[in-house]
Symmetry: C2
Subunit: 213 residues, 2 copies
């Protein structure tokens, strides 16, 4: 498939495109130009046209892009036509915030289970999500066919918990800990390191002139 | 300066390098090879050597890199030799979690003020950070010479608050809301969109074979 070859930077913009196209759709818009999209999402229009071109000629010169066609296209590409079961592991401050986080309404992401060691949390429901004890984790991940986990445990147990998760058939880990996890190659790990985000922002402020994503 | 031309992907890895070099230093290590670094942080060694080469020939073949030299170098590049004053705006669940978040001990980042509308939060201290009412925001940002703000307000007020922030001399915004902010070109905005992070992870699981950052 052609989409196997798209640059990572393009892949990371796909959810942004998808979300704004849904907003346009809800406001009754039938077509959109790359310039209009560029203004709305603060990505320059040449980048948008190049991104879209990886998926074939989706637009027509002088007409722009058909909003519904694009939505259907991205919905499929992003697997938004299927529900992805997500679990959260570690209900501290950050885990608690993510359980109550309002993931975009147009996304197909639902956290369906959480796991924690704290007796005050176990067997409660937070943000609509049941919290199980850690010793039920592997069983529940398998039974609920969970493919993605959000890891918000303390750093000192991150590798141990991640290794257990890898035995439960999970395909991806969104890692909020500061540890770089060692996991089998068939498990994809994305790191969201908040200290790094701040340090990188400060680096860019000091070393680059123009703002951007 | 040569460093003005380094790729963004390289810039984003600098804080990771810096952090692991400090860990090596604390364990008494004086030199390190790109292969050792590669194993520790899960970035391939060719990428590490290329990243480092943007800053001149820092290593010697057969010897590796001098840990202290690298630390001093990255400390300067990342402005870790100066304290950056950071404020957080919006103390909901996510804001609360970030106030109590353990930013790496080797970082120079301190949240020194927070702002909120909720009377229960105003004039309290959370995670060691005083919380001020919103109508004190512009004054406090200026008085405390805050250069970076973390935006964790509800999406429906994000643009309004960001516009006020831009009047207070702030250089950068770490935006956790789902809104793409419109701000003057001299203010740098980095977006941390947690729905996008999850959607992108799912996209990569479905469309790519190997794991990676």
């Amino acid at each position: 498939m052609a989409e196997n070859k798209i640059p990572r930077a393009t892949a990371k913009r796909l959810p942004i495109y998808y979300r704004y196209l849904n907003i346009l759709h809800d406001s009754g818009k039938l077509r959109v130009s790359s310039n209009e999209l560029a203004d709305a999402i603060h990505v320059d229009s040449a980048t948008i046209r190049r991104d879209f071109s990886y998926f074939g000629a989706l637009g027509k010169r002088g007409y722009g892009y058909d909003v519904n066609d694009l939505i259907e296209f991205f919905k499929n590409i992003l697997h938004q036509d299927r529900l992805t079961n997500v679990a959260l592991i570690g209900v501290g401050n950050l885990g608690h915030a993510l359980l109550n986080f309002n993931f975009h309404q147009d996304s197909n992401i639902r956290i369906s289970a959480a796991f924690d060691t704290n007796p005050k949390n176990i067997n409660t429901i937070q943000g609509g999500v049941p919290i199980y004890p850690m010793d039920k984790m592997v069983t529940q991940l398998k039974e609920q066919q969970i493919s993605v986990v959000i890891l918000t445990v303390p750093s000192n147990v991150a590798q141990k918990v991640a290794s257990q998760v890898s035995e439960a058939g999970v395909s991806g880990v969104l890692n909020f800990t500061s540890i770089r996890l060692s996991l089998p190659d068939d498990i994809r790990v994305h790191n969201v390191d908040l200290t790094n985000e701040l340090q990188t922002l400060i680096y860019f402020i000091e070393h680059y002139d123009k703002k951007s994503e």
